[in-house]
Symmetry: C2
Subunit: 187 residues, 2 copies
DNA sequence: AGGCCCATGTAATCTGTTACATGATTCC
DNA sequence: GGAATCATGTAACAGATTACATGGGCCT
């Protein structure tokens, strides 16, 4: 049960509805966790049942009502306990890298197309993370200054990791494309 | 069913037993997939049943017999089909980043200890990947030369991604440690 | 009129993890 | 004597994905 803690961490700084949470997780919550909406609705229900989050109904005009969730004191305690425990090693799962592993045995043309697509996607995500970072620290504030004296630096730091990860993805994709192209021409 | 393809890709270049495969996956197969031994034994059984891999018994002295698996033609065809299809976006899952996301609300001392541990682990993995890369291309060969004319470049390229990922992990951990320490001193 | 966004879920299935089981050999 | 390595699995449970279900409002 680790999704629990990812949800709690995501709700620390703001109240969110299941729907809003789902959008954040679809993006990858700054690239450290991923979950589908159904899972989040279920997890929120369980968390509320366990008293770790509290929901309140918000009535809206012209669109469906929603429930906003915040972390309770018990939720905070749970997060603290989790943070104190030992962390499992991270893991990545990537279809595209599996395909590159098999590059010597499969059609190169399609692979290059997928790598180009992924590179563009990674670039788009990197741009987005860059924007988020600027917004979090304020446009005229330097990163150093913000990290020394800012109030909520957690999301900023995870976003930095996401940015570096996507830049790494983009660079790697471009490198692989270049290698495969050159070999294709030589053949 | 995507573990299937990761297994097939891992078996492309050499025959492996379930046990050997498990060791490769425990390491993360150059950081793109992860699976426990039980899962691999089960997957190998299914793959063999479907005719995508073929196993052969190897009798050994002084240790248990083992079964080595190789990819069949049908397995290769399956991989090619997989490679041609569209790839899902990659995803990462990382407890430690969740903890950093909550850094403003949680005990910093323990977090720093875990980050230091992770940085060391990432460094060790990066060293290992560096060694593997040198071994694959041959000690006296340049990377450019190998990538242009080498025979099996797939595993090399995925290993490059693993190396960059772990270096990114290490750098990020060290940066976060520095930031948290400085804030700790200021308080 | 058609498609997307908001908003929330249920149900069936598939995948992955944890705990358990066995047993010889080699290294400290 | 105890731990680690080699070698292969089964069984129960937890976690995740897919398909399905509903319905109003907004934009083109």
């Amino acid at each position: 049960m680790a999704l629990r803690h990812a949800v709690l961490a995501a709700l620390l700084d703001e109240e969110l509805s299941g729907y809003q949470l789902a959008k954040a997780f679809d993006l990858g919550v700054a690239n450290f966790w991923h979950a589908r909406p159904q899972q989040l609705y279920a997890e929120l229900a369980r968390l509320e049942n366990d008293g770790l989050v509290a929901g309140r109904e918000v009535v809206q005009d012209n669109r469906p009502n929603k429930r906003l969730f915040r972390v309770t004191d018990a939720g905070l305690a749970e997060l603290e306990e989790f943070a104190a425990g030992s962390a499992k090693p991270s893991f990545v799962r990537d279809d595209l890298v599996v395909k590159v592993q098999a590059a010597d045995h499969v059609d190169t043309g399609r692979l290059i197309a997928q790598l180009a697509e992924r590179a563009a996607f990674a670039q788009a995500k990197a741009d987005l993370f860059g924007k988020l970072l600027r917004a979090m620290r304020g446009a005229d504030r330097s990163e150093e200054e913000f990290l020394r004296h800012g109030e909520r630096i957690g999301p900023y730091l995870t976003c930095l990791r996401g940015l570096a990860f996507e830049e790494g993805n983009r660079d790697w994709c471009e490198r692989v494309i270049a290698v495969l192209r050159e070999r294709g021409e030589g053949a």
